[in-house]
Amino acid sequence: MNHLQFKILVVGAGPAGLAAVSSASQSTTDIGLIDDNPMLGGQIWRGGVQSAQTTQAKRWFEGTGAITILNGARAIAPLGANVMLVETATQAIEVHYERLIVATGARELFLPFPGWTLPGVMGAGGLQALVKGGLSVSGKRIVVAGSGPLLLAVAAYLKGKGACVQMIAEQAPWQKLSAFALQLVRYPEHIRQAVQLGRSLLGVPIYASSWIKQAHGTDHLQAVTLNQNGHASMLACDYLACGFGLVPNIELPTVLGCSIIDDGRVQVDEWQQSSLQGVYCVGEVTGVGGLDLSLAEGQIAGSAATGQLEEARQRFPARDRARRFATLLQRSFALRRELKTLVEDDTIVCRCEDVRYRDLLPYANWRSAKLHTRCGMGPCQGRVCGPAASLLFGWTPTSVRPPVTAARIVSFAHVDWPV
């Protein structure tokens, strides 16, 4: 077994993780950064075929000195206090650390609806990630559906890549959207973004109070049915990009033993420290809040974990402001109740084990549904169906255990387990 040792270990190289590295590096270069993607930047600053690293990711990385980066590496299990088992494509590594900064980000919330398992139905961020990775959407007909500003950003990106974006279906009603737009006056930086998006989306129809009802096709998506402001409409398309919001990736902090609060986010103090001494959590994992909040939290944790408390404190106002904006977003784009009724009896809920909605109906909670139907027991370990079941049945997915993600058995072969 290979060993590495760092003063600071950062898990996740998205904006929050990079900001943490940047601030921590003002005090030490004894930093390890691991990320499961082949390149730095996380989702929002994902590099791709055109440039391995986005300029934003590069900018945050300047001046960090000789830190150690492990790409394509997953944190799979804590091995007692201050040791993390990390797996790459070819090896397992025991990584020892004094302080841990968890910046594991968020995944997209997927809502089951008839046909959502068809090839061609994707997460909005997911489709964008594939296009950055070289998927050509030139001339492809794409419907973008869901809620929130991410839809507009993804639609603008896809259009810029030559896609024919046929429609953006936003589930929130116009009255909520216009109230949101009025509140933007208090956030000039977001107005600039909105104007830019508006310009690049000229000619793309945007419908409010509209949502996906069904995806049609046999072995690939051919068309979608939408509820368009009360009327059903059918539209032929090659891809459907769905974005209904984000779910914090709390599996690693949960397994570590960090306190998780209300809607599934890690509890942190003013220094971004979790309930565990020396374990800091930053970015979406502490509650979905977007880029600015992730950066501020990352900076605070990076400074605080290296004893630079005054530097950390300087970022408190930025964090407060970003939190207020995040609250505004959550209120404006709250999901409507109708989205819980899209599933039909034979709609698959758990895609790994092909468990259908009717199979789940007899059970009272996640645990008994899981034991009887294998829902949430496939390779994704409930990362997709757990939040969906939460929304559909009000269940709280429980019992995350190591390994945090699917891992090779050989990675555990030489571990000296703590007794």
Binding site: P38, Q43, A89, T117, P119, A129, I348, R351
Partner: protein, 80 residues
């Protein structure tokens, strides 16, 4: 831009360096990345290593996530 040659289900293709395997599979004209436990066709959903729908066999190693793997020269990709 340099190109990489690989095979998808035995078919030779060339893609730009930096392309992920999931994109190369689509480029080869393959829609189905795997079949589910009841035989349904599946393809990438999340694009970021969460859903495991894009898993394929790469160089005889099973269950590799095509969305998080970069194409390499001579790589053999097989969908299931």
């Amino acid at each position: 831009m340099s190109e990489i040659q690989l095979t998808v289900n035995g078919c030779e293709i060339k893609v730009p360096a930096g392309t992920i395997v999931a994109a190369a599979i689509a480029f080869a004209g393959v829609n189905t990345y795997r079949h589910s436990v009841t035989g349904e066709p599946r393809a990438p959903l999340c694009g970021m290593g969460i859903c495991f729908e894009c898993r394929v066999t790469i160089n005889d190693s099973a269950h590799r996530l095509s969305c998080q793997t970069l194409c390499e020269e001579g790589m053999r990709v097989v969908t299931t």
